[in-house]
Symmetry: C2
Subunit: 142 residues, 2 copies
DNA sequence: ATCAGTAATTGGAATAATTCTTGATATTGA
DNA sequence: TCAATATCAAGAATTATTCCAATTACTGAT
């Protein structure tokens, strides 16, 4: 058993380097928060949360860390309309559903074996580097 | 023949009201530009272009007009990463492919009969109000 | 282990897109 | 025509993000 007390989650072990990115203390803590808070926090959310462990970290550093992690494909950046960017450690190809009543963002997986290319008419020769699928709506009161 | 001179495109007739929105002179001209420039202009692009016909229009008014048109479902707002919003008069369900080499944005249609719901695992009860599909990439040098 | 070179961090200033505010103008309906 | 309402213009304000300059931390070679 790793953690006896559900209030205190077991520490996530983070290596010194991921995908060629040196994992400094700040990057480790930022990444750890994304692993723990699966609710797509903004840079500012991460900033407030990370100060528990690194009281002197600056917001600029949080932005730097998030950008470095995104650049190295360790996390994903998610944008809804013009709101603050949010960040997501789920690297599998998926979309996001923004519940406009509760504000909650749900990861939306593809059906097994399905892909965007199945439904879209891509122009010939197009090489897709990145895909963003965002849905906005609500839940029928069930 | 409507227009003899290809330099001067035929005016697009715009009614006094669309979908319950009063089409003021400013809204008409903003909408006209979106109909003519199918290259997904930003608010500022529209602003510079519309000044030919309404020299006193303000950027705030362009934003107001675009927002009113979006709210009434007359045009769509398209966001790429954190860049300025772009606007699009194509109301059919479609995505956007951003060519990162040329900067050009291409409308991407669905295959006939296909829909996003075919490939995504939507949570039960989810009612989708709006969908945004954005692709980023380039063309293989063919 | 030391040192030089490089990368990362900080804190605050700067930027840029967008929204807000206020007063003027225009439009509508009675 | 008049009052009520909507729209517009101009500039100020807001806000997320980036930039900058100075400090600090790390790395690899000696």
């Amino acid at each position: 058993m790793v953690s006896q007390n559900p209030e205190i989650p077991a520490e996530i072990e983070i290596p010194d380097e991921i995908s060629g990115l040196r994992m400094t203390r700040q990057r480790q803590e930022v990444y750890r928060i994304l692993q723990q808070e699966r609710n797509h926090p903004t840079a500012n959310d991460v900033f407030m949360r990370v100060k528990d462990r690194l009281p002197n970290i600056s917001l600029a550093t949080v932005y730097n860390c998030l950008e470095a992690l995104v650049q190295h494909g360790i996390i994903r950046q998610v944008n809804f309309e013009r709101e603050s960017s949010r960040y997501c450690p789920n690297l599998s190809e998926h979309g996001h559903f923004h519940d406009e009543v509760t504000g909650v963002i749900h990861d939306i997986d593809f059906k097994p074996g399905a892909s965007l290319v199945d439904v879209l008419n891509l122009p010939p020769g197009a090489v897709i580097e990145d895909v963003e699928i965002t849905l906005r709506g609500k839940f029928a009161n069930s």
